[in-house]
Amino acid sequence: MAVGTQYLAEQPKLRTSSMVIGAVVVAALMAAPFFFYPVLLMSILCFALFACAFNLLIGYVGLLSFGHAAFFGGAAYFTAHAAKVWGWEPLTSILLGMAGAAAMGFVIGFLAIRRQGIYFAMITLALSQMFAFICLQVPFTHGEDGIQGVPRGHLLGIIDLNQPLAMYYVTLAIFLFGFFAIWRIVHSPFGNILKAIRENERRAISLGYRVDRYKLGAFVMSAALAGLAGGTKAIVFQFATLTDVQWQMSGEVILMTLLGGIGTLIGPIVGAGFVIALQNYLAASDFPVTVLIGIIFVVCVLLFRRGIVGEIMELTKRKSKQSA
């Protein structure tokens, strides 16, 4: 599944050209708020990071988690509580959300990692539903109301995040940090072992690797980064609600990743951008968004299973093979 990205990293020519592309994309993202509605862009960035974090697990370890909403939404609650009730500085609040998500990832991952395939997915789903129920019941989340009116505050006590542009650039910086972290994990010695485990788990065990620990490590990292996305979202939108912890959110992130291309680094970003933009533009019309997204999902699974980015990469690979 992830072979494409691996080749990309191993060919120096492709690598420099992808760095150029990366620089262009970052520049475009810097200029974007002058052309598009910043809140929409920030929403896309948060969900894109969430999808990238999810993809780290399914694309590079081969584990389908159906409970990632717990980390995304859980972190949103932690961050919102810290910023609103304790009056913490926004970045520290986000980091607290991230740490909370990582801790939850450790517990859920520890319980789920021993099972594979559909059983792994079901355990993550069950545990995240339990967490959603807790969020409905405990007082600090304020039940159906959620935590509203979270102050954006001043970043490090200096930068006023109530300014839309300041908030946008901070969100962009967090997104880029998260994306770089995932890129680094995938192309690290640790990532190499993850790849080997996905390729042939029994062989990895017979070489002395305690594969459960590697899987758990990747699970915690994925949860932490999903938490980073969720915490940032709570500051950007100034609330944390039950929507973010429910299973529909877990389903949505799977859809985004699948649509963009599982196991490709930028696929989840494209998928998240597509889904969020679609939801946004159709929100005003009478056409039901869920129906359209359902149709797109079916078409995707039937016709282009590698996802948008996955199919493009496959096409270019075939072309370069033909010309060679």
Binding site: H187, P189, N192, A196, N200, S206, L207, V211
Partner: protein
């Protein structure tokens, strides 16, 4: 090393002397692979005991056994198909060199392992394929790669499950030489169907049939044993 009493394999008391090449042979379904799975803890024995270098490993996990230096190969070739040959061997080298858990460093740091990896690949005559994905190799070469990967761990004892299966004539000669070379300072236990190879390579042979030991000793002793002939031929024809 010994173990006793299993489900598919019962009352097998097998001891492999340090530094020897020991063959485990027998008809299909005799339980040879089961014995391997038991020794390397991919299966847990219901009864009995397994001792390696004086330590009881009966209740250990597969990865722990590998860490002690008891490393196996598989009957169906076990490579990482979409990794290059170099990467395949490097995966094995990563753990002992402490580079396996570093998620914050670039995978370029693994270049430090390239020299050793190439030595190992060279030892099985695969250097010209080092940059190819393992899946593109022929069956015999995949087996050779697997041996190179196993050797990367510098194990005290190797368990080779049919290392020659599906190999051509030249490959067999080359791998036999390799096994002889690596056995100079290691113990090898191998399952092998090619009796010429067994006669040529192994110091000692244990014959397994229907989960029990039929015969045990040097190749000459075992090959003269009428019970062994019967198990292999069905009935004796002489």
């Amino acid at each position: 090393m010994e173990f006793r009493g299993f489900v598919a394999v019962k009352d097998v008391t097998l001891s492999v002397n340090e530094g020897s090449i020991h063959a485990l042979i027998g008809p299909n379904g005799a339980g040879k692979t089961t014995v391997f799975n038991l020794l390397t803890k991919f299966l847990t024995p219901t009864r009995g005991q397994i001792v390696f270098k004086g330590a009881d490993i009966t209740r250990m996990k597969p990865a722990e056994v590998a860490r002690l230096g008891l490393v196996r190969s598989f009957q169906i070739s076990a490579v990482f198909p979409h990794l290059t040959l170099l990467d395949n061997v490097r995966v094995a080298l990563q753990r002992p060199s402490g580079l396996a858990t570093q998620f914050w460093r670039s995978s370029n740091t693994l270049a430090a392992l390239d020299e050793r990896a190439m030595e190992l690949i060279d030892a099985v005559n695969l250097s010209s394929y080092a940059d190819l994905p393992a899946t593109e190799l022929s069956y015999g070469r995949k087996r050779a790669l697997e041996i190179a990967t196993t050797l990367a761990l510098d194990p005290a004892m190797l368990l080779l499950d049919e290392p020659m299966a599906g190999m051509g004539h030249e490959d067999i000669g080359r791998i036999s030489d390799l096994i002889r070379r690596i056995a100079r300072n290691r113990t090898v236990l191998m399952v092998e169907h090619n009796l010429n190879v067994v006669a040529d390579l192994c110091d000692r042979v244990t014959v397994l049939a229907r989960g029990e030991i039929l015969s045990d000793g040097s190749y000459d002793t075992v090959s003269r044993d009428p019970r062994v002939r019967e198990a292999y031929m069905g009935t004796e024809h002489e």
